[in-house]
């Protein structure tokens, strides 16, 4: 570098906007960065491999007999539930890596560079897709070992994992937004838990809604959007077809995505 001559500013070809191609390229690079970081921190695999296994075993053996009479009958109920829970748990922590970048100053550097504003965010969240897929696969493998054979077969399983991945990914923008707005990472993860527990447990993920008092049934079935997701996945795994709940869940989460992308990008740009 000592003998490199810097090209003077006036002789450079410059343009004042970032094109779509650059945006995609930047996002890919930063996705790669996030994946590389993930691969160097194997302890995070506890989150999305060990936890799903643990929850599947726990719920199946603890509640199986009580709720469905026996374990084989409970598996079709609980597997979609655990799938939802593990994806949702993963997406509540989506913002922590972003927040780390902000706190350490990496974001400031990104901001001073000619790259797309959305790329650091999108890169980090897209890399999370790996977590949802691994978590989902773990749930189904554990279920298979316990004797779960979904009637609609392997394609429905794959489709369910992808569907849940998409839902979780859309919701992860909300949690990324929260983690960028709070003072510390620990506040953000506390909020994540506070939001996650009531939504996951006050749904039909683990317990059929019919056994609940009627006011709770109303919340579980009519208000909590996660119930729709669980119903959609159960329907898919049992009949191999897409019902109204699937579309409801899909468009609902898409709407969340559309609202939260600009909000999150804005929060990210202001935080650095």
């Amino acid at each position: 570098m000592t003998n490199t001559t810097i090209i003077p500013a006036v002789e450079r070809k410059l343009k004042n906007r970032i094109g779509v191609g650059t945006t995609i390229r930047n996002t890919c690079t930063l996705t790669y960065r996030a994946l590389l970081k993930m691969s160097k921190n194997p302890e995070i695999f506890v989150d999305f491999v060990v936890l799903p296994v643990m929850f599947t075993l726990l719920f199946t053996f603890l509640f199986g007999g009580a709720i469905s009479g026996n374990i084989p009958n409970y598996l079709p109920v609980v597997i979609p539930g655990v799938l939802l829970m593990s994806s949702f748990t993963n997406c509540t922590t989506a913002g922590s890596k972003l927040r780390e970048d902000v706190d350490k100053g990496t974001t400031s550097r990104f901001k001073s560079m000619p790259i797309a504003r959305i790329a650091p965010l999108a890169g980090s969240l897209i890399a999370d897709l790996v977590r949802y897929v691994m978590g989902g696969t773990t749930v189904f493998v554990t279920g298979y070992i316990l004797g779960y054979r979904p009637e609609a077969g392997i394609p429905a399983v794959i489709f369910s994992i992808l569907f849940m991945m998409f839902v979780a990914w859309c919701l992860s923008w909300v949690f990324a937004f929260i983690s960028l707005c709070t003072k510390t990472i620990s506040t953000a993860s506390a909020i994540g838990v506070v939001v996650m527990f009531p939504l996951v447990f006050l749904s039909n993920a683990f317990v059929p809604a019919e056994t609940m008092p009627s006011w709770l049934q109303y919340f579980v079935l009519q208000i909590n959007p996660l119930s729709r997701v669980v119903i959609a996945v159960r329907h898919l795994l049992t009949y191999g077809t897409i019902g109204a709940d699937f579309w409801f869940a899909l468009f609902g989460t898409l709407a969340i995505l559309v609202v939260f992308i600009p909000l999150t990008v804005n929060a990210y740009n202001h935080k650095a």
Binding site: T2, I7, A9, K15, I18, M113, P114
Partner: protein, 322 residues
């Protein structure tokens, strides 16, 4: 090339940035000719980082305007970002990744192909003496190595203007020298450098021009020599045994050194001294006048003395804060 020299690398007028009630930057103006090093000198909280953030497109000024090589930072942000490199106060590289991976990712972000990124990364690692640790995780790097790598990251795109926010704070003297050498090399290649520092000697060593800021305002903007002329390159500290003689002693010193004497404590006199030969005159004259001393020191000027000389205030407050 003629045209090149005519364009200022940085041209800022009346920059203001307010955080709540605090005017962190309060009317800063700067101009830096292409190919020079400008040092922004000031204590913690003077507004150095806030100023750099505005120049480097990280935050919008509340008032005033900035042109980088003639491009407006607010309206032509993306162009400006292609012309600058920023090394912040905090190492902004990834601890989990290796030095090579870090550099390559930034290379890719600047739009180089995988192959070019790798080549450039290796060149920079070589240049900064980090080749043999290229594939080691950064968490095992020392502070100085991180700082150098952080600088290397800013150089990947070979930007004509580089911002360095306190590049040597917290480094040991040897690493500091290496950093200085790297900065000098940049300018040899045709870059323009703006650095912030708390150390007068660093500004003196590196800069063509020093801008002193305090409480968000520019209090001086001069060459190192010009600045030193106003402060005195060193200062003479005399402690008088008998406090009653202080006024008398001050008069003698003022006459010989032809400079203002300031009383730090009742018995301690401080005066700028350019020529240490004059010290003998001072001491003999004081002895002839029967004024006994309990201490004599010649000290390099500190930032606080610069402030004292420039603003006539703040010196004592600053000392107490530290």
């Amino acid at each position: 090339m003629m045209k090149n020299n005519a364009i200022l690398a940085v041209e800022a007028h009346g920059l203001v940035k307010t955080f709540g009630d605090n005017r962190a930057v309060d009317g800063v103006s700067l101009s830096i000719p292409t190919g020079s090093i400008c040092a922004v000198l000031g204590p913690n909280g003077a507004g150095k980082t806030t100023t750099i953030n505005m120049l480097a497109t990280l935050s919008k000024p509340d008032a005033g305007n900035v042109k980088i090589f003639g491009y407006d930072v607010v309206r032509e942000t993306q162009i400006v970002r292609q012309l600058i490199g920023l090394t912040g106060q905090f190492a902004s590289i990834d601890e989990d990744l290796t030095a090579l991976e870090n550099l390559m990712i930034f290379g890719r972000l600047y739009g180089y192909s995988r192959k070019d990124s790798k080549r450039k990364a290796n060149e920079l690692l070589e240049e900064f003496g980090l080749s043999d640790v290229a594939s080691r995780a950064l968490s095992k790097f020392s502070g100085g190595m991180r700082r150098r790598l952080d600088l290397a990251v800013s150089l990947i795109s070979q930007p004509p203007l580089i911002f360095l926010d306190e590049p040597t704070t917290g480094l040991d003297p040897r690493t500091r020298m290496q950093m200085w050498q790297s900065i000098r090399n940049l300018v040899k290649g045709g870059s323009t450098v703006l650095l912030t520092t708390q150390y007068l000697d660093e500004a003196d060593q590196l800069a063509d021009n020093i801008v002193v800021i305090d409480k968000g305002r520019v209090v001086a903007n001069d060459t190192p020599d010009g600045l030193k002329r106003s402060v005195g390159s060193s200062s003479l500290h005399l402690t008088i045994k008998d406090v009653d003689n202080a006024a008398n002693a001050a008069q003698i010193i003022e006459r010989i050194l032809d400079a203002r004497v300031h009383l730090a404590e009742a018995s301690e006199l401080i005066a700028p001294i350019d020529n240490t030969d004059k010290l003998t005159d001072v001491l003999t004259t004081l002895k002839d006048a029967g004024i006994a001393l309990s201490g004599v020191n010649i000290l390099q000027p500190t930032l606080y003395e610069v402030f004292f000389a420039l603003t006539g205030e703040g010196s004592k407050d600053q000392k107490e804060e530290n």
